[in-house]
């Protein structure tokens, strides 16, 4: 009798924890919205927020209809094939199916929404709606199945605790392909190839967004334990998450200060996000000191990434590719360096005498995911481009997508001074 009561209350406690984390991850959607809105011009703000809002709606429905079945249903090593519309679906953890589903659906929404920022200020709304349904119902779940749903990478002991690869590399790589196919915003690069500043319209909104994301990450990473246990795992994950973000913010600020002479807030904030993305995969497998190192390197990567993209004339308005793509990659391979067998990893990382075994698995896994996303998203975006078109007209881009796509402004009654 007592045994049974303990059992029920443990499941109850775990369910409460997973649902609480799901709610936090859902709130990250607001964070993404604010960051992206703040980093773009006022005339496109209504458009980006509509995209952020609708992609979560699309992700929820897409993940209910097909996504969950592909990601967690029984099938082969490539994809799951059972549990369409959750009919006959089973939970992937000890918590009830619906709690597990909600947590996973919130993750799916996060992967989808990353792309909005990279393709901001010029992508057609209709094209975005179609893209967001396809990535949530099909592309993201396939990668998810490989790693979390018992697919071929899971069988190889590839480790990704909370989704540096599954969520962030997927979103970041899709954003990279999208922004390359869309081409830069008008006047972003001069005829001599030099980048011009297209300043974001609200640093306060962007800052609020970064704080919300940081807050939401306490659900994203610790929640991925999917159980409370004795509390030690979620405590480790929580402290690692926080330390990496802080270290990323500091290292990015120092970098940008040294390189450009001023501590640029927007870059420091990108650095904190980079630290968060980088620690997402290794957060359960490393010690706190390693989290600081991983986060600091993330902050450096994000600055170099932004500069590199501008050199290559790839226009990524909010830094989605350096933050999510490059740091998703870095976080994933960091497991192979700093990971510890004693914390539940299959093999010790390179710095703990485990050699290149885990590192090799990590590299193979994240590279396969990148290749898969490059191919699949190129096809998706090209198909959208030839059917309804990816990019708005030049005139609409100059007027702003708020009026062009939605017929309403983000700041009615305000005078917005448009100079470029």
């Amino acid at each position: 009798m007592t045994q049974e009561v303990i059992q029920i209350s443990t499941v109850g406690l775990d369910t409460l924890w997973v649902l609480l984390a799901a709610f936090l991850v859902f709130f990250m959607q607001a964070g993404f919205g604010m960051v992206e809105a703040g980093f773009i011009r006022a005339k496109n703000t209504c458009n980006i927020l509509t995209k952020n809002f609708l992609d979560f709606c699309m992700a929820s429905i897409g993940f209910f209809m097909f996504g969950y079945a592909i990601m967690f249903g029984d099938g082969n090593v490539f994809m799951g094939l059972k549990g369409w519309f959750l009919a006959g679906a089973e939970s992937g953890a000890r918590v009830p199916l619906y709690a597990f589903w909600l947590f996973q659906a919130a993750f799916c929404g996060a992967a989808a929404t990353i792309v909005a920022g990279g393709m901001a200020e010029r992508m057609k709304f209709q094209a975005y709606l179609i893209y967001s349904f396809i990535i949530s119902a099909l592309i993201y779940p396939i990668v998810g199945h490989w790693i979390w749903g018992g697919g071929w990478l899971a069988a190889l002991n590839f480790a990704d605790f909370a989704g540096s690869t599954v969520v962030h590399t997927v979103g970041g790589t899709a954003a990279l392909i999208g922004t390359i196919l869309l081409k830069p915003r008008l006047a972003k690069y001069g005829p001599d190839g030099k980048p011009n500043v297209i300043a974001g319209h609200s640093i306060p909104l962007a800052s609020l967004g970064v704080f919300i994301l940081w807050f939401g990450w306490f659900g994203f990473n610790p929640g991925s334990s999917l159980s409370v246990g004795d509390g030690s795992l979620i405590a480790l994950v929580a402290i690692n998450t926080n330390l990496a973000a802080a270290a990323g913010g500091i290292s990015a600020m120092i970098m940008v200060w040294k390189m450009f002479g001023k501590p640029d807030l927007s870059m420091a904030m990108n650095g904190a996000l980079a630290g968060l993305v980088a620690i997402t995969a290794p957060c359960a497998f490393v010690d706190p000191w390693a989290a600081i190192v991983i986060g600091s390197i993330g902050g450096v990567i994000v600055i170099l990434g932004v500069v590199l993209l501008d050199k290559l004339q790839i226009d990524d308005p909010v830094g989605a590719v350096p933050v999510h793509g490059m740091n998703g990659f870095w976080g994933t391979i960091a497991i192979g360096l700093f990971g510890k067998e004693s914390l539940g990893l299959a093999h010790n990382g390179l710095f703990y005498g485990g050699g290149f075994k885990q590192l090799g698995i990590q590299l193979l896994g994240v590279s396969s995911v990148i290749i898969f996303i490059v191919i699949s998203m190129s096809i998706v975006f090209k198909l959208i481009n030839v059917t309804i078109g990816l990019r708005v007209s030049r005139e609409e881009e100059l007027k702003g997508l708020d009026i062009g796509e939605h017929g309403m402004e983000a700041y009615g009654g305000f005078q917005i001074f448009t100079t470029e």
């Binding site: 006047a187 005139e395 100059l398 007027k399 009026i403 402004e409 005078q415 470029e420």
Partner: protein, 113 residues
């Protein structure tokens, strides 16, 4: 000396600036303006309700020039701002009585520079 005042579509500013730079006119003042002309506005929707917007957003360019620059400046503005559709704007050319550069106290043609 003339003062050229032009009212243009906000989204044509990059093109106008480029045309002016090509004509070697680098000095200008730009302000936000609201106005209506022949077009009599457009409609927006807000929460399902149609809204007539009759004062449209325009930009007001002011450029003070010496005589020899009047025609090139006008041509450049027309070239940059013209779409052929209603709402392209207007250019006014006014006589300019005096011009003083505050930094040096120079007056007249030199002050316009």
């Amino acid at each position: 000396m003339k003062l050229i005042v032009a009212l243009i579509q906000p989204h044509k500013l990059p093109d106008v600036k480029k045309a002016l730079y090509d004509a070697e006119v680098y000095k200008m003042t730009v302000t936000n303006a609201l106005g209506s002309g022949q077009q009599k506005g457009y409609t927006e929707t807000y929460r399902g309700v149609l809204q007539e917007v009759n004062l449209l957003k325009k930009l007001r360019l002011e450029i003070a020039v010496n005589e020899e620059f009047v025609e090139p400046t006008i041509e450049a503005i027309v070239k940059g701002a013209q779409t052929g559709k209603i709402g392209d704007g207007k250019i006014f050319v006014l006589d300019l009585g005096e011009c003083i550069r505050i930094r040096t106290g120079e007056r007249g043609q030199e002050a316009i520079g």
